[in-house]
């Protein structure tokens, strides 16, 4: 242990002893946080769209609590993850007060940097426990402590070019399992020449295994189980990767190398018929291909096996408070203002199409209107239906980043070198176990 770390730790323990000594001999002092009026200034870290929407909410918040100053900063995604990590590695130096954190990074911060995020139960977070979509509260809590309030809850979706499938004589709404998707894809390619979907086969971006992860989540599976064991090559994983291999072997998968740009250009060109993407993606299609209005539809994805699930919350983001924040009460009040008021969430949905985890927000008519772009479908209701179904809690663990890299590599082996799905996943699972000291559960 180096000297500096030692000093920090001893300072911490000394402080801890002091606090408990004070607490034991006198009556518990009144906890000021909840009752006190928020004051002072706070900094909020987020990125792009969400940051812009929070900026718009600041005046209302300040009106409610005059004298408070809120500085919302657009740190950028993914830059924000590194910046938070570095701040935590520096013992909280230079961190914002309110931190916008994705579900994939939250566990790493909680586990690797104890005390890095504030425990929100001391600020009264428990009263919001029942307000959010299923599974959300479990996602932000750990051993009786709550580390964040949920913001967006993205469900698995299945966006498709209805016109192309019609030409191929396929009724997409009647499809129930992914094997039928493959059959439909073959017909589609014969009749229209379009690929069924695109995958970043060479893993040029870290999110290239999105579809694999999505198919695992549809089976209540993930890269880790609740005990933190590695579960990449469980039957669920092998089933997911086998579907991807079948799609590829049938010549239905276009190469999405290059990530976002390529995806947008394939949408514009119209040579890929399906985008298996979450809630927020609808707005992206409408924004980038306005001329294809009326050609797209959306449904919940088919199940992996007959009778299987068709709903899954595939990712979510949250607002946390830095443990180092000197103004946690105000920071928490701001997070409450943004996340627990239906008005705030409806405003954000209208602005950037970010789907709330806050269930009360869905009472607003905006979620029940037919969408002009999506052929008059009631998009909001489709995804709301998904949110209301029982959801599996995903354990991302502190090692999600490592798992993601290995799964990307395994998928590349399967798609580009014809590797056997089970063998490629087994190799990835063993590597992950070796890197992290976790056990493999098969």
């Amino acid at each position: 242990m180096d000297r500096r770390r030692f000093l920090q730790l001893s300072a911490l323990t000394a402080g801890g002893t002091l606090l408990s000594a004070c607490g034991s001999d006198s009556k518990p002092q009144q906890r000021p946080q909840v009752a006190a009026t928020p004051s002072g200034s706070i900094t909020v870290w987020s990125w792009a769209g969400p940051a812009a929407m929070m900026k718009e909410l600041v005046p209302g918040f300040v009106k409610q609590f005059p004298g408070v100053e809120v500085d919302v900063q657009d740190i950028g995604n993914p830059a924000i993850w590194d910046k938070i990590t570095t701040g935590m590695a520096a013992g909280g130096q230079g961190l914002g007060d309110v931190l916008h954190i994705g579900v994939d990074y939250l566990p790493a911060y909680i586990e690797k940097f104890p005390g890095g995020l504030a425990d929100l139960t001391t600020l009264g977070a428990d009263k919001h426990k029942g307000a959010f979509a299923q599974g959300m509260w479990e996602t932000v809590s750990r051993e009786g402590k709550v580390y964040a309030l949920p913001w967006e809850a993205n469900s698995a979706g299945f966006y498709y070019r209805a016109d192309l499938f019609e030409k191929a004589g396929v009724d997409v709404e009647a499809i129930t399992v992914w094997d039928e998707v493959i059959e439909a894809g073959i017909k589609l390619k014969e009749k229209t020449g379009a690929h069924l979907l695109a995958i970043d086969k060479a893993a040029t971006q870290t999110d290239s295994a999105n579809l694999f992860q999505f198919l695992m989540q549809l089976q209540d599976g993930f890269y880790f189980d609740m005990q933190g064991n590695v579960t990449i090559d469980t039957p669920a994983g092998v089933a997911a990767m086998t579907i991807i291999k079948k799609l590829n072997d049938a010549g239905l998968v276009a190469d999405g190398g290059g990530g976002w740009n390529t995806m947008i250009s394939t949408i514009k060109k119209g040579n890929v018929a399906v985008q298996p993407m979450p809630t927020w993606f609808g707005g992206i299609i409408a924004e980038n291909a306005p001329d294809q209005k009326g050609k797209w539809k959306v449904r919940l994805p088919p199940a992996v096996a007959p009778g299987g699930k068709v709903a899954a919350i595939v990712n979510s983001t949250h607002l946390a408070i830095a443990g180092s924040s000197k103004n946690q009460a105000t920071a928490f009040a701001f997070a409450e203002y943004v996340l627990t008021r239906p008005d705030s969430q409806v405003h954000i949905y209208k602005g950037k199409g970010i789907a709330p985890a806050l269930m009360a927000a869905y009472d607003d008519p905006i979620f029940h209107q037919p969408s002009e772009y999506f052929s008059g479908q009631k998009m909001g209701e489709i995804f709301l239906g998904s949110l209301k179904q029982p959801s599996y809690v995903t354990n991302y663990t502190a090692d999600y980043g490592r798992a993601l890299k290995l799964v990307d590599d395994a998928q590349t082996k399967v798609l580009l070198q014809g590797a056997d799905p089970a063998a490629a996943l087994r190799e990835a699972a063993d590597l992950l176990a070796n890197q992290t000291g976790r056990k493999v559960q098969r």
Partner: protein
């Protein structure tokens, strides 16, 4: 000027360099070894003895990185240096017109930074719509296929470094005594024999120098694979430097990253000693 001052003067001149070197090089090198004996996860740290090193030996990705580096050393470096040698002879030839233009043109890539030319090559070699595939009328999966990604890296490295090495050779060629050539010519030695018996032996010191420089540079390779494919596809361009960076600064596993760094140091040290031996023995 007193004798005492004369004696102290050299230390005054070298002191800044020595002090900075000790603080920012020697001390971190020692610290790095200490770190490699700890298991780290973010802010958590515990003594682990040799655990990081046993993990390293059992880690297939470490060996993948080593193999990738070895492939560059065994294939790209010899091809590039042979090409550089041929170029230097052409540069030196009395028959060459537009000589300074040609030399400068070949030399210019070296002033372009690795990130800049890496980005440029990534765009030139874009499989769907890059200039290279368009000009060749081919559909080569540069950067998305394991084999072709390695070829792309080799092309980029060669483009960047070959001219510099050729100029190093050229400066030695120009320093070779002309009378040896004349003697060889009088003996009626052919072009090839003259190259083999006169030019090549005379070039040995610079050839070894460039081999050593290229070896050290290759073992530390980071920028080009990082910007071309971030080490992919499926770790085809993973180098020790990239693997170290990922472990240290993406996953904040400082202990393991330090163990990788030390392994790299030992490898470079051993290769360096072998190559310097060759230099000493033969010249």
């Amino acid at each position: 000027m007193t004798l005492r001052a004369m004696k102290l003067a050299p230390y005054f001149f070298i002191l800044p360099a020595l002090a900075l070197f000790a603080i920012f090089k020697l001390y971190p090198i020692a610290w790095s070894f200490q770190l490699s004996l700890f298991r780290t996860e973010g802010a958590l740290q515990s003594f682990a003895g040799a655990a990081n090193y046993t993990r390293l030996v059992a880690d297939p990705l470490f060996w993948t990185a080593l193999r990738n580096t070895g492939a560059v050393l065994a294939v790209q470096v010899p091809i590039m240096l042979a090409l550089a040698l041929a170029l230097s002879i052409a540069f030196n030839s009395g028959l060459l017109r537009f000589r300074s233009f040609v030399r400068l043109g070949w030399f210019l890539p070296i002033v372009t930074g690795p990130i800049a030319y890496g980005l440029l090559f990534a765009v030139l070699l874009n499989p769907q719509s890059g200039l290279v595939n368009w000009a060749l009328g081919l559909d080569i999966p540069w950067l998305t296929d394991k084999f072709w990604a390695r070829v792309a890296l080799g092309l980029a490295l060669t483009w960047h470094y070959v001219g510099f090495n050729a100029m190093v050779y050229l400066s030695r060629l120009q320093a070779l005594p002309a009378d040896q050539y004349d003697a060889a010519a009088v003996d009626g030695a052919g072009v090839w024999r003259r190259f083999w018996h006169v030019t090549l032996p005379g070039m040995r010191p610079v050839i070894v120098l460039t081999v050593v420089m290229s070896t050290i540079g290759t073992l530390q390779l980071f920028d080009e694979p990082y910007v071309l494919t971030k080490g992919g596809p499926d770790n085809a361009l993973l180098t020790l430097g990239l693997y170290l960076y990922d472990n240290g600064f993406r996953f904040f596993d400082f202990g393991y990253a330090s163990a990788i760094a030390y392994a790299l140091t030992v490898i470079i040290g051993v290769l360096g000693i072998i190559q310097f031996r060759v230099l000493r023995d033969r010249t």
